[in-house]
Symmetry: C2
Subunit: 378 residues, 2 copies
């Protein structure tokens, strides 16, 4: 619970002219920079470095003083050759190829599922440990699906320096944010059923989607027709069912990730989950309304205490001033915020709770979680 949450309107601005705004960096002395670049650290590759999550990987590496011997900036052919600066050094973005992973200890992938499928196994063969942010391998047997605060034991035995490559999957952003709050309660009272409705930000669809939301908003305010390239319909001042393909059972793939990933992460094939995933015109943090049904009774005061002591979770639950988590308040923050903690009136005997959760989709929902995994590999 490191973060101090400030009132969102004190921020002044929601995002800089570029919507892929960086979090405010800690002031860093030259000494600190040398700390990150360490001869006995791992060699790292960032795959998809020009994307929203790729950029956030770099921010988080810096913020957490992640030690590394060297770092490779990898992206598609289109971005290859671009110059970038990271921690005071200049880098050229290299084209991702099968040879990119020679001598790489840890590769952080966030370039979409097809890139992960194409290059992930090749990297593992070269002895690289791949932390993959895509959905390509999440449900594959034997691939750990890890939220470090929740199921670190799933990646037991995987370490840099063992001379063996491995695949580790980062869960979907909605799953991470939901389970950060639900797991501590599950550990106490066992969740039998969970009904989730999401309020998902533009960032989940990448930097281009964030730019489209900003562009459309300007257009609509000027009375112009909105540009719809990334999404098939107007996003500004609107919301819609998540754009992931809908399966024959009527759930879209985003919803099924919440259903299936929860079972895998909790090692509980019996937990019942239903989800409705909705995109809202918010920039970079997701919110989720979560209704929980427990095997054992759990009163709201106990739940609040459990959540206050949960790692990576901050409780914002001020009923008197109507101050609860908002996407803006958690943007660029590491912790997942939870509030609206209350006994569910529709369930008897304290067997139900309603909670409202917000988390930065790019940070804990993607980059931070992946780098926390990478830290456990050292």
């Amino acid at each position: 619970m490191a973060a101090t949450f400030t009132q969102p309107h004190a921020h002044g601005r929601l995002f800089s002219t570029s919507p892929v705004a960086k979090p405010t960096r800690k002031l860093r002395s030259p000494f600190t920079v040398r700390m990150s670049l360490q001869e006995n650290g791992p060699s790292v590759a960032v795959v998809g470095v020009t994307g929203a999550v790729g950029q956030e990987f770099l921010s988080v590496l810096t913020d957490r003083d992640f030690p590394y011997r060297s770092i490779k900036m990898l992206a598609s052919k289109r971005s290859a050759g671009k110059q970038m600066t990271f921690e005071g050094r200049n880098y050229t973005v290299e084209e991702l190829t099968a040879d990119s992973f020679d001598g790489v200890d840890i590769a952080l992938f966030s370039a979409g599922g097809s890139i992960s499928k194409q290059f992930g196994p090749a990297a593992v063969e070269k002895g690289t440990i791949v932390v993959d942010n895509s959905s390509a391998f999440r449900m594959v047997d034997g691939v750990p699906l890890v939220i470090p605060e929740v199921n670190p034991q799933a990646m037991q035995g995987i370490k840099v320096g063992m001379g063996k490559g491995a695949l580790i999957a980062n869960p979907n952003c909605s799953t991470i944010i939901c389970l950060m709050a639900a797991t501590p309660l599950h550990q106490r009272a066992k969740v039998l059923r969970m009904v989730v409705s999401t309020y998902q930000a533009a960032s989940g669809a990448g930097a281009a989607a964030m730019e489209e939301l900003e562009l459309q908003t300007r257009e609509v305010l000027e009375g112009k027709p909105p540009t719809c390239n990334i999404f098939s319909q107007q996003y500004a001042f609107n919301l819609f069912s998540h754009n992931a393909p809908v399966q024959p059972n009527g759930y879209n793939e985003e919803e099924m990730k919440l259903v299936k990933e929860t079972r895998k992460i909790w090692s509980d094939l019996d937990v019942k989950v239903t989800a409705t995933c909705i995109r809202v015109p918010v920039m970079r943090a997701h919110a989720e309304s979560v209704n929980l049904q427990f095997e054992k009774p759990l009163d709201e005061d106990t739940a609040r205490e459990i959540l206050k002591n949960a790692p990576g979770v901050v409780v914002i639950d001020d009923r008197a001033s109507n101050h609860f988590p908002t996407p803006l308040e958690v943007s660029n923050k590491d912790d997942v915020a939870v509030g609206r903690i209350r006994q569910d009136l529709s369930q008897e005997g304290n067997h139900g709770l309603d909670i409202f959760v917000c988390g930065d989709q790019i940070r804990k929902g993607a980059a931070l979680n992946a780098i926390q995994i990478a830290e456990m590999l050292l």
Copy 2:
């Protein structure tokens, strides 16, 4: 199911420079105007005529050719004296006083609960039938709480011309929109429990809130701090727990309306309801994610057929093209749209369904419902 829903991005503009945009009026011949002004029609008063719902009352009266002998435009002292035109005639806004209701058959109130409490009973004493859009009398025993498609029987015997005043309450917008879709399913399979998460538009907090959302959005896009007068925090590109006061049980008043009003409208004190109400940066239509648990099994195909045949409901449920209801698509429309109709994976034996509902908050959520009630009084 009169409305034809078009793709939202075909609309081009979301709202005119004034966000309190009027729906596109039907072209009306002078003859039609004479049709509405009828000597044997009731005398009508609109209380709160300068507000968002008050203005929509007028639109709906015109759109539905509501017959009236005379119409009084009533508002607070601040707005008294303003000139306005309605159906080709000029009116002066009059200050609302205890004498305003002399000779008035039907008064449509939408000026907040305290105004309703102050003037509603006085109007009833003068023989006026008050259709009240506030929450002042909704839960009062003996006051019918009516959605005409759902429980018209609740106002049986109340008619203009019986020489007796009466109070009839319009339910809260979220309740109306939810129950328009849930009731036809309830009638078939009996809802035991309902878990609702809302995505509520600015309009629910009035015209000034819509203006604040627009203003804030411009400010944030220009890098300025957002003006927070109506809400205590940034609304543009953000969302937050509904601003209604939070009760000791942790639910806010908006949520408790859904719980209590559902029980009254369905005459079912046992139905279990929980709700989480959230404001999203959308202009004038609400969305709701509704999870239903039924006493009897109900498969999704049957549910879809039931909803297709339900009055005032339109089904938008195209999985192949990922086309489902959106707030923008139902804005200025009469019908409530329902989609994402699917068997709930977390309940066994077809005892559960998930649905997603959108409805215009000002129209069916307020003005239209009130005027449908008024029509039944004639």
